[in-house]
């Protein structure tokens, strides 16, 4: 029996440790619906503050488990924690919103209970706020998306699982194969999902991309 704060990410999302990324995504959708702030199923149990902190943990859990690399690292920490029942408590690392977006890892929460002092410092935790763009990038193009994705070690498969698009469309988006992409409004929706999966501001990304799409698909008329 565990308190809600002591649940590991798998327990929090109510999934087994060998859940597929699709399972994780579904569990996340479900659990987020369960703990949304105005869910009447929580009425009289959890205060607004408690609900907020549960939601933050759910986000952390999802962002850690849904990406291959952070998940592997988290699994390793969990295993280590199982073998050493008394985890060394580290002083709290205050790192909440300090982001380094180009760093390949998106997540791995700063969960100090699982860290031993010999461990490398935890990667910056993911927040729900959109990440700033790396300064070298001025515009979201297909190739930039591909680069950002690869930096995080996310496969197109994982993106497809998260966004429920097919991998073909993920490839088309990245290759800017505009002719093969669906009609404008659908494409925009796809881009918003893609942006959310990568953790960037959906509006900005979709606008940039649509500008390029429009330029290619409707070239200005020759006068």
């Amino acid at each position: 029996m565990k308190k809600i704060e002591d649940l590991n990410y798998y327990e929090l999302l109510e999934i087994s440790t060998d859940a597929s990324s699709q399972d994780i995504h579904r569990a996340y959708e479900r659990i987020r619906k369960t703990y949304e702030p105005n869910s009447i199923a929580l009425y009289s149990l959890f205060s607004a503050d408690e609900t907020a902190s549960i939601n933050q943990r759910i986000e952390d859990a999802y962002r850690t488990l849904v990406y291959e690399e952070p998940r592997k690292r988290y699994d390793a920490l969990l295993r280590q924690n199982l073998m050493t029942p008394a985890p060394v408590a580290l002083p709290p690392v205050e790192k909440r919103y300090q982001m380094q977006p180009v760093q390949p890892s998106l997540s791995l929460e700063a969960d100090n209970r699982y860290l031993k002092s010999t461990e490398p410092p935890p990667a910056p935790p993911v927040t729900t706020t959109p990440q700033p763009l790396p300064p070298t990038i001025t515009e979201f193009t297909g190739s930039v998306l591909k680069m950002l994705r690869e930096q995080r070690n996310i496969t197109t498969r994982a993106i497809a699982d998260m966004t429920k698009l097919s991998t073909r469309y993920v490839d088309f988006i990245e290759a800017e194969n505009f002719g093969k992409l669906p009609a404008r409004p659908y494409l925009r929706g796809f881009l918003v999902l893609y942006a959310k999966a990568l953790g960037y501001e959906p509006e900005r990304l979709a606008n940039d991309y649509m500008k390029r799409y429009d330029a290619a698909m409707n070239p200005p008329k020759q006068k």
Partner: protein, 314 residues
């Protein structure tokens, strides 16, 4: 289906409660009873709503001559004498008390006698229709049953009462298994949500008890795992309403550490209202309606020891 039930020969007692009034407890109890009776099981419905009995009305029976209060007040010797046959084969009824004001609060001896007599009855299933509220009588009947079924509506008021009911029920259960007076007192104090010891959730309580008496703490933890109330969401109108059952299950697990089993839901339909108005049971009047089907599913889930899977929503 029949073979499966032959395996479950033993008599079972199901209690249907929920804390709040007017959420369909009697309606669901009556129709679960009819559904079981149709499966060729001998079913006895007991209207244990001692203050506001109306199970007989949902079955279309007028005010009965013999009621539970005749038994409680020893005007008859055995409970057999207050059992009424219904028009449905295999289904009989012990109607709730009508007259006595104090019948709503039977004393310990009366309650014990009732439960003792229920145990000796020759039936396959005994369904207890509990009243509203979280009085000790209601909680005791709920805890006594093999299956405790909670009914809620997808509304904050009903959900709040359901959680209060769950909490009251297992604190009462805790209190019965611990022996030390100091721990009993602690549980009483913890029932007060605003207690000064900072015990807000059952986890806090168990942790505190473990400090005082590790043995009792462990026993309670086991007890908590064994306590598996079941949930029915009534008057479901949308997919989100169905989702509420899963959400409550998750919240219950995370907040109380209690496994709530989501048995099923009953869809909202005017035919329920029509059947109540015509004083004819839903599953008799509209056996193929969606709410009647929902009740069948609930019965089958209890019999097969199954529950709804969240994957049904995808």
């Amino acid at each position: 289906m029949i073979e499966l039930q032959d395996a479950l020969r033993k008599k079972e007692i199901w209690a249907i409660g929920g804390g709040k009034g007017g959420i369909g407890k009697s309606l669901i109890t009556g129709n679960i009873g009819i559904t079981l009776a149709r499966l060729k099981k001998r079913v006895l419905l007991v209207d244990a709503d001692l203050g506001g009995a109306n199970l007989h009305t949902t079955l279309g029976i007028g005010v009965p001559e013999m009621t539970l209060s005749d038994f409680l007040n020893r005007r008859v010797e055995t409970i057999q004498e207050v059992i009424i046959k219904t028009s449905i084969p295999n289904l009989s009824l012990v109607s709730g008390a009508q007259d006595f004001l104090d019948a709503a609060n039977p004393n310990f001896a009366q309650k014990a006698r009732l439960l003792r007599h229920l145990e000796t009855l020759d039936a396959d299933y005994i369904l207890l229709d509990l009243g509203a509220g979280t009085s000790f009588n209601i909680l005791d009947f709920f805890l006594f049953a093999d299956h405790g079924i909670l009914v809620v509506l997808p509304e904050p008021t009903a959900i709040e009462n359901a959680y209060r009911f769950i909490k009251s029920a297992f604190y009462r259960r805790f209190k019965r298994i611990v022996t030390g007076q100091n721990i009993k007192d602690l549980i009483d104090a913890a029932m007060d949500q605003k207690n000064s010891m900072g015990i807000r959730t059952p986890y806090d309580l168990i942790e505190r008890i473990k400090q005082l008496d590790p043995e009792s703490g462990d026993a309670l933890e086991i007890e908590m795992m064994k306590f598996r109330p079941k949930l029915v969401v009534n008057q479901v109108r949308t997919k989100n309403d169905i989702q509420i059952g899963f959400s409550m299950k998750s919240a219950c697990q995370k907040y109380f550490g209690i496994n709530l089993e989501y048995l099923g839901y009953v869809e909202y339909d005017d035919c329920v209202w029509q059947s109540i108005r015509s004083k004819r049971p839903l599953t008799v009047e509209y056996p193929y309606s969606r709410p009647a089907r929902c009740i069948e599913r609930i019965v089958h889930n209890v019999l097969r020891k199954e529950q709804l899977a969240a994957s049904m929503l995808y």
